[in-house]
Amino acid sequence: MLQVHDLAVSRGGLTVLEGLGFALRPSDLLVLRGPNGVGKTTVLRTLAGLQPALRGQILANPDQITYSGHADGIKATLTVGENLGFWAAVHGHSAIDPAISAMNLTALRARRAADLSAGQKRRLGLARLLVTGRKIWLMDEPTVSLDAASVALFGAMLRGHLAQGGAAIVATHIDLGLPEARMLDLTPFKAAATRQGAFDEAFA
């Protein structure tokens, strides 16, 4: 459902990764690995269509992709239910109960997001993925500020998504406890320095 051929991505005008290629089938989970700054976020943002690819092809239906970044787009003065309800409505759905119970937010439903802890906010952000109803989840460090119990909760939610024929690409450093995950180390795809004296380098 998602194919990538010879992808090159850039950040701040510099090519960071090139020659990247992989395919994602239904029920696939791809985990992106690599040291800080290697370009995991850049790859995810490029796949999500937030920035153009420098070269290469991305074959996917953009209407099937959703993205979860470092920030969750949560409004502090809205309640948990209102925050989720908004994203559900944007994606043309109205049911938010399954998402709320999946991330164990039932007791917090009427609480303002401002009064949530960092981990609770993260759970709310992850529950948003469910209400989008989309098949391909692109997740950037989804487990930041989650405790062990919440990581397990997230693992269960992800597994449920895969079981229903969904797919996901996750950039993370920790072990999600999902044996079916395929690892992709980005280090070998690091872009080589451009040829010395290539004048048009500055005008990629």
Partner: protein, 218 residues
């Protein structure tokens, strides 16, 4: 898109949403100007159309930098760009929300401020009409400026530098309509030109602003 409008209005009316700030600012201008130029009614009546329009302009400007900046900082703009919402629609809805929260209250309070500035009786209808037809353009032009400057650290200052020159035609036609109306002249022509600017802005600026947002999200 209705959901976005509902959310933005809800955010504006909840604590810290900034509803009423522009209104209070507008009031301040109408109080400070007579203190500055003196209480003479004839003079105030002469400058009232201009002062009210300049005041409305600045009051609109006050809340513009929040239009996209908050959603940009907390990542909501990224998520909207990936969602089924077209960014053009996002811009249009946000400008509409801005107008409902800032522009429309200005229109409603303007007659009261007209009293403070001894506006001639013939001018009130034209004041209401010109602000009602002109402030949508102010919100849309402002939305375009806000989209251009959304990623900048000192965006507010540059935003006003970009937006204020573009407010010139609206200001001229708006204030001219009130001025002519106040002295019983033909105020329909400037009013129609003002409405034309607003309609043109509705038609074009959401696209320009969405292009700017896309460039800024990269």
């Amino acid at each position: 898109m209705i959901a976005l409008l509902q959310r933005d209005l809800r955010l504006a009316f909840r604590a810290g949403g900034g509803f009423g700030l522009g209104l209070a600012f507008f009031l301040m201008v109408a109080v400070l100007v007579p203190l500055g130029v003196g209480p003479e009614g004839a003079l105030l009546a002469r400058i009232a159309p201009g002062i009210l329009w300049v005041g409305a302009l600045l009051a609109c400007l006050l809340s513009l930098d929040r239009m996209f900046a908050l959603d940009f900082e907390d990542g909501a703009l990224d998520l909207m760009a990936v969602s089924p919402l077209p960014l053009e629609g996002v811009v249009a809805m946000k400008a509409l929300a801005h107008w409902l929260v800032t522009g429309l209250p200005l229109v409603l309070i303007a007659p009261v401020l007209g009293l403070l500035l001894s506006l001639a009786p013939g001018g009130y209808f034209w004041l209401l009409a010109s602000l009602f037809l002109g402030t949508p353009a102010l919100s849309l032009i402002g939305g375009f400026g806000a989209a251009l400057t959304v990623g900048l650290k000192r965006g507010g200052l540059i935003l006003s530098l970009i937006v204020l020159p573009m407010y010139v035609p609206s200001l001229i036609f708006g204030a001219e309509a009130v001025r002519r109306g106040a002295v019983g002249g033909d105020a329909v022509v400037p009013l129609l030109l003002l409405a034309a600017i607003s309609l043109g802005s509705v038609a074009i600026l959401p696209f320009a602003a969405a292009a700017a947002l896309r460039a800024n999200l990269k």
